[in-house]
């Protein structure tokens, strides 16, 4: 887990009049999953690449864990930061195990420690250990990106930078890898900076959204806060913030729980909701079941019910609970 502080970070490429990143300041807490969101050319990838110094800022300061990023050589800094890119960038001439071992080898780990780590990582990203001896070309796109993720995690970095890592995958594989990433993040609590232009992906993954436009940071807040209080029309349009269903998808059944009705049974099982279902699904199911209410079941216990009114209240509460 690493904290990141950017102070007035700017980048202007030689021969260009306008800065690609323009005076961006933010603070990211350890263990946060931050998604950089914006249209192409907004500077989100440039901002990401300034963090591992693939680009050096024209001005401004960057602190990682309180220390100036320029205090150590760039190569040393990068070995402590996981880096995943869309095209995977796997080395085609190296086996999967050699690809995963790159950073540990750069750090001078012992052979045995690396061997153990490779198996651990393949387990973590749910690839069979038999893949160790394969070459990247022999894997599917989704599998290759799992290797890319394993390679970035190899030396257990506190910070992960991910540049549209799932952008080239089909929708089903992308959704599966998003789930995997959330599962891995729940276990490892990395600080993650994740670039995407896919709004649904951003809302699904982010603890906080950092929204950029034309080099400037226009809003930096939780998905629900951004949807409920978009900073301007650009953000409103970008996220289709007027879409109530999109906001509901960020709330959980647990947020809209009412005490169980006295005379209510367990429902018919299949239609019962769980506290972790999102309210968009819940609303759909409630309407499907006649629009009255549906029981919520956790660990076989009837823990309450959800009604259209409780969903509406949760929506209103979700908005009110936020600072202006």
């Amino acid at each position: 887990m690493s904290s990141i502080v950017a102070e007035q970070l700017s980048k202007t490429f030689p021969g260009e009049a306008r800065p690609v990143v323009d005076s961006v300041s933010f603070r990211i807490e350890p263990g946060e999953f931050v998604v950089l969101l914006g249209p192409s050319g907004c500077g989100k990838t440039t901002l990401l690449k300034m963090i591992n110094r693939l680009y050096e800022p024209t001005s401004g300061r960057l602190l990682i864990d309180g220390a100036d990023a320029r205090a150590v050589p760039a190569t040393e800094l990068r070995r402590r930061i996981g880096y995943v890119i869309q095209q995977t960038g796997l080395f085609p001439h190296l086996r999967i195990e050699q690809n995963i071992a790159v950073v540990p080898q750069l750090l001078g780990w012992e052979r045995r420690r690396i061997e153990v780590r490779i198996d651990e990582l393949l387990d973590l990203v749910e690839l069979p250990r038999a893949y160790r001896r394969r070459y990247p070309r022999q894997l599917s796109g989704g599998e290759q990106q799992r290797v890319g993720l394993a390679r970035a995690l190899a030396a257990d970095p506190g910070l992960m930078l991910m540049d549209e890592p799932f952008g080239a995958l089909d929708a089903i594989t992308r959704a599966r890898l998003q789930d995997e990433l959330l599962r891995i993040q729940q276990r490892l609590h990395k600080t993650i900076l994740f670039v995407t232009h896919d709004v649904d992906e951003a809302l699904r993954l982010a603890d906080r959204l950092l929204i950029m436009r034309a080099g400037r940071m226009v809003q930096f807040d939780t998905p629900l806060a951004v949807l409920s209080h978009p900073a301007d029309d650009f953000v409103r349009d970008l996220l289709s913030a007027d879409d109530v269903l999109r906001r509901l998808s960020l709330l959980r059944v647990a947020d809209a729980l009412r005490p169980p009705a006295v005379n209510e049974g367990y429902g018919n099982g299949s239609s019962a909701l769980t506290p972790t279902d999102d309210l968009r699904i819940a609303l759909g199911r409630v309407l499907e079941a006649g629009g009255e209410s549906l029981p919520v079941v956790a660990d076989g216990q009837n823990v309450g019910r959800v009604t259209p009114a409780s969903i509406a209240a949760a929506l209103a509460r979700g908005e009110r609970a936020l600072p202006d």
Binding site: T75, E76, L77, L90
Partner: protein, 223 residues
Amino acid sequence: MLPRRPLLPRLRGVNVRYLIDNLPYVASLFGQHVLMVGVSLAVALAIALPLGVVCARVAQLRNIVLGVLGIIYTIPSLSLFVLLIPFTGLGLRPAVIALVAYAQLVLVRNVVVGLTGIDPAIVEAARGMGMTGAQILRQVELPLALPIMLAGVRVATLSIIAIGTIAAFINAGGLGLLLFDGVRSSNPEKIIAGAIAVSALAIGANGLFWLLERRAAQATHTG
């Protein structure tokens, strides 16, 4: 009874008697030729590899260097050999210098093509993981460029073998000697012997490098 035609000295109308009768001599010239080509190739590679790497990195330099090498390549070999004599005298040295010069265009160009043809995402990933420039070159770029570089070595070797025959004119020895002597003394058998030996060398070298190239392509999973 008509005398039976001897089988070997006339193979389908090609008179190979000289080759058979003087096999040790032809073999020694073959050896000289191989040595000349080998030394030239080694020196040429020692120059072309770093030059190619620099040209792959610096785009402005690339066109200048390849332009100059292209001009060198168009100089007729005989005149280049003769031009070198005042500086180096006769013998193997001017021959090697000229052959090295001729090989540069193909070698440098293929190093440049091999390196610049690598998927930029691969190099970016390598940088992003904290590899140094030298590590990226040695562990990533050169292995991936190897098949194309070897193709350059193959083509360069073939032209060095061919141009090397002309080097006999400036006393560098080699299989060209048979060709020049044959022409001078109107001895087609000698010319045929030289031609067969040079062809065998060229075909052999081509096959050898082609095999290496294929193995490299398989090893890098690019072919």
